[in-house]
Point group: D2
Chain length 355, copies 4
């Protein structure tokens, strides 16, 4: 296999040292991957900080670009503007198992939860990996969530790992991708679970490669004619900029701009959900602890973050495709990687400097 040239660099903002969501200080990512015959799935966990988010809540907001999805936890995020668990990603039918794991984890750390103390709000997102993975076996367990959590760190494996193991993107092997950009004084990172798009739609770094991808896939008979998209994408944004929930909602929406640039039209059957959180401050569970007195970013200075939200999202999708390896799973179904399908492609040009 000839390696692909480096992926195209999106936009003119500079990436952080890892070009990953973990360039936002304190954010950690972990995976647990199941890869065994008909089971090609897993769990990915994003920890917003090293502490317990149940006690030190993290400001957050979400936007539903397309709500054909089965996440749990968004009602309370919308009301209270905070996360109180790590963010978990998995396959559609494993949301309950992972939500239960989050409840148990919170109870273990905070024994009064649901007795004297308030209950905890699990936050689990999903995409449908049923083409490569036998979701009906509901193979993901509490233990898998705990492994993903335990392994969370600053180095982020990408591609067909964790929740991304069984995902498909533009008819190719999809999965987990991440990226970061510096926006003025602040860092912004994205992590995506990419499982969306029809081959013909694919725009890669500004190039409309969809026709060629579709033709190459057809030549390999890798994609059934007329197969409807049943995909989804989860778009997570982290930033160290001091933003409140209203501003984070605005930020999350801009992930949609990055997604659209890759060719997506937020297709009907796709659960496209974006969530943004800030690490600039936390909100205490305990009302007797002082509330943070934070000067939020002036709205007139928010545009660089909007640009970074779109750029990191697009870059993270490119990374997911770049790093994914070909996977064969349920019933012998396979998804070929971009690497394998397009190893003969020329290099992308260097990005130009910002005007």
């Amino acid at each position: 296999m000839t390696p692909l040239p480096p992926p195209p660099r999106i936009g003119s903002l500079a990436p952080g040292p890892r070009d990953a969501i973990t360039d936002v200080a304190g954010v950690a990512v972990g995976h647990c991957t199941l890869e065994e015959g008909d089971l090609q799935t897993g769990v990915t966990v994003v920890r917003p900080h090293a502490g317990d988010p149940f006690r030190d809540r993290v400001p957050a907001a979400a936007v539903v670009l397309n709500g054909f999805g089965k996440s749990i936890g968004l009602v309370q995020v919308a009301e209270l503007g905070v996360l109180e668990t790590p963010i978990a990603l998995t396959n559609t039918f494993s949301v309950p198992a992972v939500a239960q794991a989050q409840i148990r984890q919170c109870v273990a750390a905070n024994p009064g939860t649901g007795r004297g103390l308030q209950t905890v709000n699990p936050l689990v997102f999903e995409c449908n990996d049923g083409y490569l993975n036998d979701m009906q076996r509901m193979a993901v367990t509490e233990q898998h969530y705990l492994e993903a959590f335990a392994g969370a760190g600053a180095d982020v494996a990408q591609g067909a790992v964790g929740a991304g193991r069984g995902m498909t993107c533009f008819g190719l092997k999809g999965g987990i991708g991440t990226a970061s950009r510096r926006a003025g004084d602040h860092m912004l990172g994205a992590l995506v679970l990419a499982n969306f798009g029809k081959p013909g739609q694919f725009v890669l770094g500004g190039r409309a490669v969809g026709h060629e991808i579709a033709a190459r896939l057809a030549a390999r008979q890798r994609r059934e004619a007329g197969e409807a998209e049943k995909g989804s994408i989860i778009l997570l944004l982290a930033t160290d900029a001091p933003l409140d929930a209203r501003q984070l909602r605005r930020l999350a929406l801009r992930a949609g701009a990055g997604l659209a640039r890759t060719g997506s039209v937020f297709g009907h059957s796709s659960g496209d959900i974006a969530l943004a959180f800030s690490t600039a401050y936390t909100v205490p569970l305990d009302a007797d602890r002082p509330m943070p007195a934070v000067a939020m970013l002036h709205e007139a200075r928010i545009d660089p973050l909007f640009q970074a939200a779109a750029d990191t999202t697009e870059q993270a999708i490119v990374h997911a495709l770049w790093h994914a390896r070909t996977v064969t799973g349920r019933n012998g179904h396979g998804r070929i990687s971009l690497t394998d399908l397009a190893s003969d492609w020329p290099a992308f040009p260097e990005p130009e400097a910002s005007p």
Copy 2:
């Protein structure tokens, strides 16, 4: 025990024959109740029709009055405007187990679900019954959901049954209540899972009885001083009027008017969610089947349904309190019933006819 006089009749619209949500033809309700020491909880299932809602979807919409809640399924209901499972109610920590039960039930009936066929959207609401029930034991299982489903019928047990087993309302024993009203040519029914309110707030059929209830509870030392409300209420409305999702959302909001009349201010810690559905038509899963050609209700004729939504909601809350019996549960905690606390009250006056 002297029985209470009949509950006050709310409003001037006429109830249906059962004064229950099952007066809307086709709607069925079932309970599974766990009552054993520290476990005082359960599952309640509302079936919108006798068929499989995965194949024949039911138009629906929800309003989050207060989003301090952990339901699953609302993202997709908002996007697609339909239910595709029965509606399930349970305790907060049992949402995952019941959601998983719904997935398995759908897979059993539709083996392609999540393989070739699209995935199913579980729809589970919850309230926190942790005062009477040890939620941490997560005692509710798939089997309990199936029992509630199997027992669903037109007769609706009320009070401390099903998901209502461990619930508290205004410091009294709360739980399941239901009611119905005829609104012009249409029937509208409500079913509530009532677990909200501080004793002093309680307004019963227009009477501000809160002070007296609080005083009587204090005399029995039944309520700890300063205990914060950690309640919630789930408000379900069914109607046979032909309404689309936008209209059903308007209807659902009016459940909040009925709730407010009982004294609630949609307290901070309360997950107050209303969902309305129509039985007038269904939407086929299969795109090759014809879509229903339905003349929706003209908006200028919707006010009687709004009135009925508020009235049945208030009535259902009254019924929940009227039918609940005193329960003792976790750690010997108890909630006294309105019947036991106020058996000496005089009868409420007959409702006046509509002006």
Copy 3:
């Protein structure tokens, strides 16, 4: 005319010294009233502080309880979470004239507006006073807005004044009402433009007086049989508690609980909109000025404000009805005041102390 006894006191929280929205320090209210034959209308202005809100923006959020209304300005309030003009109230057809007046006022004070500087977002709410007032004459002018603004102060005239001049509430003369409550360390005030409700729905201080009101109106032939409600209510809340836009949105929703207690079911033809703002801090237009570093109220301490939001709203509606005087207007149409219709009513009981 025998004066009515004092109005019922709503709830157990203590009112501020004026029992008016102006008990929130800095808030001022002014009216301009047109009362001349077929013209029975006006403008009411609520100033959130004594400065220019274009330069020092005021955190705010709105909730649309029923969107059958023609306000201008809410899109930007929702996005940016601030007010940048005074809040204006008027009749439905005069929204454009008042919006234009706000633009001109802002341009006069900030000459660069719409040239180098950004444009201003007018914020005008309305109710339909077409029964008493000939809206088609569009009699309200820029000058009327400026008069209402110029006259703004801490003393708030109530009843058939300003924008309330031509309004109808439960078939009686409605209009402007205001109230305030102390909630813990904070003050909260409400101002309503009450123009909603059918006579039979009216619940006054917990008493279902609707049947009697309807009967008395029928006896005077003051209300046409079967006349549909074409009303609306605008609900404004002010507080000195430090809340962000998300929290203010939660607060605004609780105005709906107060409204529901008076018998409203948020009828179809009614534009029922609640807006809440905080005077605890401002947000500078100029990005070079420092952003406020404010510790927001801990969410666990917000319930007293929710209670006060519902209680002041209900109280303000009662005040609007109590202070309104009988008005005759367009085509000889009249609306009788509660004072005139029910002067023989006994006094309401003193409120009980909080439990």
Copy 4:
């Protein structure tokens, strides 16, 4: 002046005969343009059908992509799911004048409006043309609206006409653009008022031309360094597909995907609002007339419309830039057209056929 080559064709769907929103049968567009020294502005009117939309309402829904905007009318559209006036576009400070014109037009046609009959909901969108046009003179009058309305027809002038006269897009002359696509059995058209974007962001038909545009503009000193975007875009979609308001809201969101492809990240200061309507049926004002019994499009068949929504939006933006001519206005400010700036560009390739 050398003419530009034909504009790039976006996507693989076939345009309608006019490649304009008026390919949706019944839709008509008219302009009134003011071009005189410091006044470079106007009004554009989109009529959804040839009748009176007050009596025959048009199903519609809007999405606010970025709410830094001053439109009027969206609250009621969201609640009731219908338009009841033509859609009007103008500059920011002229919204009140045009709203008033719409009220007067409705009253003239329906004399009972605001007397016995309900009031009318004006629907006016705006962008800020203050760089080329002296908005403070508020030069747009009722007469200009009526002229635009009277001139409405199937031929749509594009570029610096009507409301587009003073608009700027990517630092170039922007304005009105339109396009259409056939999506299965249905036609979908878009009309945009394009006034957004920084030069460096511009992606034209998939080519990242922003750097070059920025460099050429800098060479002509046509754009001040560091000037913040103060733009906006209004995105209108029409279709003859039978969709309800919920579905139309989904459709409107996809206009954002087309917008993002041109390089926009929905910048902070931009009022980016999309509205979609269907011409497949109307809803009668009069409740005694029968409601339409329409079989809506099955959701599983909606993806071609989503694709068309994104493609026509992008195409309409391209058309706005292609057709706009260089304009000089207020204080001698000018915006050069793409034609003038890039007349030496080579032709775009023919679009490939759909895979």
